[in-house]
Symmetry: D2
Subunit: 263 residues, 4 copies
């Protein structure tokens, strides 16, 4: 296992940014496998940063067991869109620059079937949105307790707040809110468009805890995808919006998408 | 010497943020001094982050020699103002939250005469602006190769770019640009107001390289302060907008403001 | 929460050494508590280092819930004794230098009743040994899946190996093996001596998984302490020599020693 | 530039160890060069660790200018020999495991002419010793202010100390001192043997400050190599045993060995 804390100058974000990388070097050596690693780009939630997954879950161990490299960047409360008002392009960062940079730095596969994107809460939204926006990059999407909040955001008037943020905040990350529904930042719409297009669609695992406030929007997304005839795995289980749920379900997701762990 | 890379959840920035701290524990022990440390909050420039000063200068050694703790946060291209569009408040962070947090975590003095703020380029601007905005917090300001760019920014029209950024970027960090001149984000105006008020003013060291494009605006600031009858140290020397100049002049600044180094 | 990766020059180890510190700043602020933190010095096992507990368990979260600072140093396969052949003094480091240094750097309590030492495997041995050796420093000991291997080591002849290491390795960390039994590096003997002395004894929580090879020596220690009439908590449970057991039982230990978690 | 702090489990050292890597990704991209990087393995001195070069010199910038990856491990006061008493094999680590590991993790060249080893003080000794011991791995050696202390060590009797360490310490890193002269840990003898063998010899740059106590042994080494007819660059200059000298002369060395910097 190599755990690396990396800083580099991002062009899309116009600043030096840190990320953590977990690369299961030793395990692979044992297997006698020298192919480039399949890779999970793994996103944190609102108010978190690149340290969250490593410091709060068993992701290091799971990377080992499932023979998957994991790259964990900071999202800076951007919802992983390109609309950032300082002209920071988090979507471009995630879907182009970071894959290219990490594949140049580490021995990572560039095949779509070897490339996963995942996250929880704001990061679940970001993984879902960017995964379906760039199916040529990502073969699989993992979306845990995802903040499918488009309806909630659209119910806000200027000056109002929901439990997390303000109308003006959401405007700054999603752009002109009058164009949010059905637009490039609307995760559900982006997925729907792809599915209806008949193009290859990423495999999808998503999950939400039954005690999580976000259970409603997650069930709505499940129903929407079902109606579209999409293929996906959806799990519900007892649980809240917390690390216990994400630690447990990131393992379920890896098992579902990558097959049984080798310990 | 303790070098600490710290992550914590900032309320003003609404996210977990990293900073580096350099605390000259051993040297002080040798001196038999057990008072709380004088402290320099030290800011990086545009496109940098919290690692810049530590990785590119001798700041660790200077902290040792000058017996000063150094705290180096990330500025995320904010120019260290409160106007951030995602309602990130970098000025509040720097002048209230970060001092309070670091003084609760480490043995740092909370006296204004023990508290310095410094930086280069965008960070020089941020140090100058926030130091003069909060003279009750900061007793000294160090501004190297400072991006005194208010005039340059105000010469832009919507849609235009200067060498670094766009009109709309500057709007996002400085707020409504029609109110920039003379307002809360105009470093020169903030200093002028304080000086004219007759209230205690931070000691000021500022410097610029003669080969630096920013030499003009720095000389203009020197002249403006001279006219106001302000007390300050201004240095020019051969040099460009680079680490060599900052490594050299941060030492000059510490010598000028804190007295001779003890090695 | 502050998570800090710290490097400093240790006198006992004669080199710059890293450690992780987790300090539950925010939670305490919520509680309105400004006393110095109770602190757990937490040790990794053979072949690990200072990153192990943070990267593999929920220790960050537990520190938060139990309002306890956690300091995690590197042990460099020393078994946390002073016998290191390069005249590295890990026991002195752990019981004197590190507490003094971290209390000077962070707001940590220096009361014995606020100070815990814990670890797993080699670190469980180190915590048990050093806790009972310095009851004036440590009020509580947590020893998980402890490598109580004195008998195993003493059954080796020169040139032989057990599953982990060689006779000569053990000699280098425990010193002259003919003096190990009953000496300063014999954890059981050190505890026995303290208990029989009538002096204050640290509270003790220890535990081992029933599938762990070390279950035998742990039960033997339990029986030995029972015979001495000592007061302690011993837990067994299904489990192996792995992170799952330590993640679970470090929480049991904190609950047993510090009372119910506040979330 | 990518700056990476990496932890991995070393077989030769039997523990998880940290190192810093500096990889000039962006610069190379600008040059349009996609070959694997030439690489400098760069060693710290007695009482230092893997953070020393990065935190105290401009090595990040020099890596950029000279288009060379730099790998900085911890040496744990081992003098980078295999004799460590806990059966830690620092020489094997440096000359086999670390090159193999870093070349598997990062895009580094495995050609000897692209591979340098360097260091200062104890690290200068380690670079010189291991570079000449493994000319099949290293095409160049940089040895700054090197601790060529074999004579000094051999003048000690059991129980005695020189300014740094004890007879018994030196025994623990160099092995049986009666066999040190001319043996596998005697840097000068190892170099002499290689030179006399007629096999390819690494290019050598070495330097010492005229105010450094180690100037004598460095001049002696210069004279010894001259007598052997060896090819090398030796520099003396005003300077002490400090970071100023190493920061300056690591640049001289890179210029001498790699050619002019591209900024």
């Amino acid at each position: 296992m190599a755990v690396a804390e990396v800083n580099f100058l991002s062009e899309s974000l116009k600043k030096i940014v840190p990320f953590y990388a977990v690369i299961p070097m030793e395990q692979r050596k044992k297997d006698g496998n020298t192919e480039r690693f399949r890779t999970l780009y793994l996103l944190h939630g609102y108010s978190g940063n690149y340290t969250d997954w490593l410091f709060n879950t068993r992701i290091q161990q799971l990377a080992d067991w499932y023979r998957v490299a994991v790259i964990m960047p900071s999202g800076d409360n951007s919802f992983y869109t390109d609309n950032g008002p300082k002209e920071e392009h988090y979507s471009t960062f995630l879907t182009k620059e970071l894959p290219a940079f990490t594949r140049a730095l580490f021995p990572l596969s560039s095949k779509r079937e070897d490339t996963l994107i995942g996250g929880f809460s704001m990061g679940g939204y970001g993984a879902f949105l960017n995964g379906f926006k760039h199916p040529e990059v990502f073969g699989s999407v993992i979306a845990l307790s995802s903040a499918f909040i488009v309806n909630r955001v659209l119910s806000l008037s200027e000056g109002e707040y929901d439990k997390i943020e303000s109308y003006s905040f959401y405007q700054s990350v999603f752009g002109d809110l009058s164009k949010l529904r059905g637009g490039e930042c609307d995760a559900g719409a982006v997925a729907e468009k792809l599915i209806l297009s008949g193009q290859p669609v990423p495999k999808l695992y998503f999950a939400c805890g039954t005690e999580d406030e976000l259970i409603g929007p997650n069930r709505a997304m499940r129903d929407r995808l079902k109606k579209l005839g999409a293929d996906f795995i959806y799990e519900e289980g007892p649980g809240e919006h917390d690390w216990k749920f994400w630690d447990c379900h990131i393992e379920h997701a890896l098992e579902a998408l990558l097959g049984k762990a080798k310990r």
